[in-house]
């Protein structure tokens, strides 16, 4: 990281740390939600952006993480903090077990298999009524703090989660693993010939990514304090996460974070202005991002904003 960038990032983090005492509860909530998506996007970027495996159903780990926290805190009386390692662990274990068969698939097939995994988990949890409450959902214990303190508590918890995701992503990009993953993305066969143990590295990448997504699921569950299978296994979250990764730039450390902030804040503005057609606008927004800035804002506007760039992006992939 260059010094300039480092200073910018430090200022950004310090601002976020100072913000809760300056802004209203509403914005605190919006920002907590933004951190959540930034964590998911940054974590998923390890398998999607670095390795080039479009894990469309990565939200599966989010849902499982949420339920790990939910079940451990309601049925086994564990405290919020002590459940979190298990959320990350659930992601790691599942990704390793699933990765052995599924990571052999490529492209579309991998994407779809992960969606299948997500739907299957949703259904299983829906049916394990005794443990998970099934369709009735699960109500988590509420912390014995004032509402303001709870808001702040989860704001900082989610911020830490996001910073953890960033740190992990940054470390991965700098070590041997990161180079191996990029080699796999460019040409898996060639990487394999060069002596990279591709199945092992792919599995590690997916497990790391799943640990972050699972962790954010756990924090989300406690924050929102009520979960049911349909609110944590949401296909639309996967799409939002993908759009964020693309918007910021896939395979970069800070791209998904930037994408999450831009899209989530835009989405918030749109939400308050056009409640009735919010979904339509979101759909259009995603289509426009794909058409004009598929490489991400930074790659596209390196030399300043220009319409020419947007158009040349459009031409590049057209038939």
């Amino acid at each position: 990281m260059k010094a300039g960038k480092g200073i910018l990032f430090a200022v950004f983090v310090l601002t976020l740390i100072a913000l809760p005492s300056l802004v209203s509860g509403y914005w605190l909530r919006v920002l907590t939600q933004t951190f959540l998506f930034a964590s998911i996007a940054t974590g998923s970027n390890i398998i999607i952006g670095y390795t080039g495996y479009p894990a469309f159903g990565n939200i599966a780990f989010f849902g499982v993480g949420a339920y790990v926290t939910g079940v451990l805190s309601t049925k086994y009386g564990m405290s919020f903090i002590s459940t979190l390692p298990f959320c990350a662990l659930s992601g790691i274990v599942l990704a390793i077990l699933l990765g052995i068969p599924i990571l052999r698939l490529k492209g579309h097939y991998f994407a779809i298999a992960t969606v299948g995994v997500m739907e299957t988990f949703r259904e299983l949890i829906d049916n394990m009524t005794e443990l998970t409450g099934g369709g009735m959902g699960l109500t988590l214990p509420i912390m014995k703090l004032g509402p303001e303190s709870i808001y702040k508590y989860f704001y900082y918890a989610m911020l830490l989660c996001m910073l953890f995701a960033l740190l992990l992503s940054y470390i991965v990009s700098k070590i041997k693993l990161g180079y191996a993953l990029r080699a796999i993305k460019v040409d898996e066969d060639a990487a394999s010939v060069m002596g990279i143990n591709t199945p092992l590295y792919k599995t590690i990448a997916w497990a790391l990514s799943a640990s972050v997504v699972g962790l954010s699921g756990g924090i989300y569950a406690y924050w929102i304090s009520y979960i049911d299978p349909n609110t944590v296994f949401v296909g639309a979250y996967s799409v939002k996460m993908f759009a964020m990764i693309l918007l910021g730039g896939a395979g970069t450390v800070f791209g998904p974070l930037i994408g999450a902030f831009v899209l989530e804040l835009i989405s918030e503005v749109v939400w308050s202005k056009f409640i009735a057609i919010h979904g339509m606008v979101l759909g259009l927004l995603i289509i426009l991002i794909i058409l004009f800035i598929p490489k991400g804002l930074f790659e596209t506007f390196k030399g300043g904003f220009s319409f020419k760039k947007l158009l040349s992006n459009l031409k590049e992939n057209s038939l």
Binding site: I48, R104, E119, E123, F242, L285, I286, I290
Partner: protein, 292 residues
């Protein structure tokens, strides 16, 4: 006897799944686009039928050509002026694009047609053919035969006509096809148009067999998905077989382990097929290859 009844129900349901899958599988096999908006496009066809029935009392079966034509045109426009712009991009870019389209269409339908469950019930709904213990509603039987006939027509079209051959040629080798004077942009648009048209027909038939709302779009797309994987991409026979297998599996698993596990079982089967034979039960080389 119950087993035979379940088998028949499964086959009747399966033919509908096959029809949903045929268009999806063709588009995927030829253009390499996984069209996540497929279910939403089918629902547009369903709403066409619903409104024609509600406003002018048009018999739902007579609206089949209308759904086909309208969705054909919509599909052609979508591919020509939207999907073709990014068709050479990475896989997940296309996935996101079609998902954006899905979100747009579903919300469009929710906003303008409401999220209420709708159904179309002509006078003859409720009559059934009764053979001993076996009950087969006439409407479901008609839907079954229309689905099979549509599949047969589609296979004939791909096999016998110039356009059909051009579609297959583009799927096999796009550069060689271009050398013979085929314009891939137009063939892609035609393929997507046919896929959407057939989806529209499936939507029309859907109104006759179950209640629908914009929210079932995702479920339809997932069925199309599984059918394509099971059968193999781009082949009509494959989709037909895949649809029937899925239909029978769903009805039997609902009977044996309960309704609530049917999706998990269908997905389990799909993942299994993906791992053991990624080209599908009837898929061959070329038709089912990952093109990236």
């Amino acid at each position: 006897m119950i087993v035979l009844q379940i088998l028949i129900n499964g086959l009747l349901l399966g033919a509908f799944y096959a029809l949903i899958g045929i268009g999806f599988s063709l588009v995927w096999g030829v253009t390499n686009i996984i069209n996540l908006a497929h279910g939403a496009i089918a629902l547009l066809g369903a709403y066409l039928t619903f409104f024609m029935f509600q406003q002018w009392h048009v018999d739902p079966f007579l609206t089949i050509p209308v759904s086909f034509t309208v969705m054909f045109i919509v599909g052609y426009m979508l591919q020509r002026y939207l999907m073709n712009l990014v068709v050479k991009a990475q896989i997940f870019i296309l996935l996101i694009l079609t998902f954006g389209l899905e979100i747009f269409l579903v919300n469009f339908m929710t906003t303008f047609f409401s999220a209420d469950f709708r159904s179309v019930t002509p006078d003859y709904a409720g009559h059934s053919l009764i053979l001993g213990d076996i009950v087969i509603p006439y409407i479901r039987m008609a839907v079954f035969f229309i689905c099979v006939a549509a599949a047969a027509l589609m296979a004939l079209f791909l096999d016998k006509t110039w356009q059909g051959k051009a579609i297959r040629a583009t799927s096999l080798d796009i550069e060689a096809a271009m050398m013979t004077g085929i314009s891939p942009a137009k063939i892609y648009a035609l393929t997507f148009a046919i896929g959407s048209g057939v989806a529209g027909v499936a939507g029309t038939l859907l109104t006759l067999t179950q209640a629908f709302s914009p929210n079932i779009a995702g479920g339809l797309t997932l069925r199309a998905f599984i059918v394509s994987i099971l059968g193999g991409l781009g082949r009509v026979e494959g989709a037909l077989l895949g649809g029937l297998v899925l239909g029978v599996l769903e009805t039997f698993s609902s009977y044996i382990v309960g309704e609530s596990y049917k999706n998990a079982i269908a997905f389990g089967l799909m993942v299994l097929v993906l791992i053991v034979k990624p080209s599908g039960l009837m898929g061959r080389k070329y038709y089912a290859e990952v093109k990236h």
